[in-house]
């Protein structure tokens, strides 16, 4: 399913002294199969935008279509849409509620697919928990509140992917995780991407994460999309990003330092490629231009 937004606008608390424009005409297209990154400041409208994709915020002005679903249409089947577009919120572990992990993960499945019987539900829950890397026998009867932070997050993600959504949206999925946890989470996302989960959209502050993982990305600023393209294209415009008050990946920072010394380097800003390009300079580009 393809996501197309045109002129999408949204105002919080309209017609009150607290009115604030969150989206001010967003045009974006996310094709099926992409691993799409959304970058932006706090308050740039990125979270508001992704909440539209799940019909949690109704389209108030503009056009938004996901596959066959026209979200501006009142008669749109939102429940069906939500089963196909999974949404993982920021700090998803704060939404756990059931007595056992199994019941919590089954919650979404039972809401969306009432026709499933006990065994089918259990099989799906088991598969989801194993996908996120948890030991089924160890956690199924545990209370979600007894688990560690990282495990809680995995359970929460399992609770979303249990319905096997075609599009998975994650708002700051790695926030608050340690480096290893972040790495494992990204590996998990890559392992489901391309299978039943065709498109992944992540919102992130971490530019390295975007550079490493995304096929394409968009930069939000003041409710608009100001840049869109491959991470390599976006991060080669480092000055613009910095002037927007955003960060750039470590690789881009290194490339800038090299450039200031007169060494040009062509890279797509992933770590592997950057190292490869730097090593390739050995012997030839290693000398400075002024020498």
């Amino acid at each position: 399913m393809r996501i197309v937004a045109k002129g999408l606008k949204y105002v919080y608390n309209p017609k009150s002294p607290f009115a604030s424009t969150a989206l001010d005409g967003v045009d974006i297209e996310i094709k099926e199969g992409e691993f799409f990154g959304i970058i932006g400041h706090t308050g740039s409208g990125k979270s508001t935008f992704v909440q539209h994709l799940n019909a949690l915020l109704k389209v108030s002005e503009g056009y938004l279509k996901i596959g066959e679903y026209d979200l501006a249409e009142k008669k749109c089947n939102f429940l069906e849409l939500r089963s196909k577009v999974g949404m993982v919120f920021q700090y998803p572990e704060y939404q756990l509620f059931a007595e056992t992990v199994e019941k919590d993960v089954a919650f979404g499945l039972k809401n969306f697919r009432k026709e499933l019987n006990e065994e089918e539900t259990r099989a799906a829950v088991k598969e989801a928990l194993e996908t996120v890397g948890l030991d089924w026998n160890a956690v199924k009867d545990a209370s979600p509140f007894e688990l560690s932070g990282g495990q809680k997050r995995r359970v929460a993600i399992a609770g979303v992917i249990v319905t096997k959504p075609e599009i998975l949206i994650l708002d700051e999925p790695a926030a608050g995780l340690d480096p290893l946890g972040k790495k494992e989470l990204m590996e998990l996302l890559h392992s489901i991407h391309g299978g039943w989960c065709k498109t992944i959209v992540i919102v992130s502050h971490d530019m390295d994460e975007i550079a490493e993982n995304c096929t394409r990305a968009a930069v939000f600023s003041a409710g608009k999309v100001v840049m869109e393209g491959k991470p390599s294209e976006i991060f080669s415009r480092a000055d613009e990003l910095l002037s927007l008050g955003l960060d750039i990946p470590v690789t881009a920072k290194c490339a800038r330092i090299l450039q200031s010394r007169g060494i040009k380097i062509g890279t797509d800003f992933t770590c592997d490629d950057f190292v490869k390009q730097v090593l390739a300079l050995r012997g030839k580009g290693g000398e400075r231009d002024d020498e």
Binding site: R82, S83, G86, N111
Partner: protein, 281 residues
Amino acid sequence: MMNDVTFGQYYPAKSFVHSMDPRAKIVLSIAYIVAIFLANNFFGLAAVTLFLVIAVAFSRVPAGSVLRSVKMILFVIVFTAVLNLFFYSSSDELHVLVKWWVITISWESIINMIFLAMRLFLLVLGTSVLTLTTTPVALTDGIESLLTPLKWIRFPVHELALIMSIALRFIPTLIDETNRIVSAQKARGANFETGGLIKRAKAMIPVLVPLLVSAFRRAEDLGDAMDARCYSGSKGRTKYKKLTFGWRDAIGLLLLAGLITGVVFLNIYFGGKFAILNYFL
């Protein structure tokens, strides 16, 4: 979903009422409520309404925002009004209009219903003027200051005010949190909009449990943060904003004294609320 709860929501503006001393506003509100209950005929209520209109006009809060505060308790008003209409017993058999089973509708019950509904409306509107023009912090400061005499009997006034201001401070935070959890559960297919009462109450469990957990987490964090700043109660604490009683407050109190006198006078002059019947029947 919950953003339209106006009750207790501060409306930022610069106005006569906004810059009054919160203590004066609290006293005025209490006196206003007394005036509502003192009034025993429609002329008295009209005088109270006039006072309310003046207060709203000088607060620069749009009338719509003030009226929205009624929405929450509209059900209560309609419910009590209907009960009064059906079950208020008339002393005069001649005034009875409909009599069926246990239900009796009379001229008296109609008047009583209108009178009661008006009272409740005025009550809610008046108190929401207070909360719309006073920040929660100013409000608790005012209450703390007004309750100071109770310190003599070792009543923990400061602690009470602190509890209140914390509670008020966290209402918006918890509303945000609720909205977030509701969104998250909706994304997992939760349905809060349809179904019977029991089904809907059950549907709230996935929201209430995480909300409670997060409230406890926040309480613990706040306690730690206060400890880290060596908070130790009211002893030796000074105030950043000192409350001062000014000319605006004097005008407000004078106006209200006038209102109460007026209401008492109207009560004596025109008699009870049913006196109006004598003109028509």
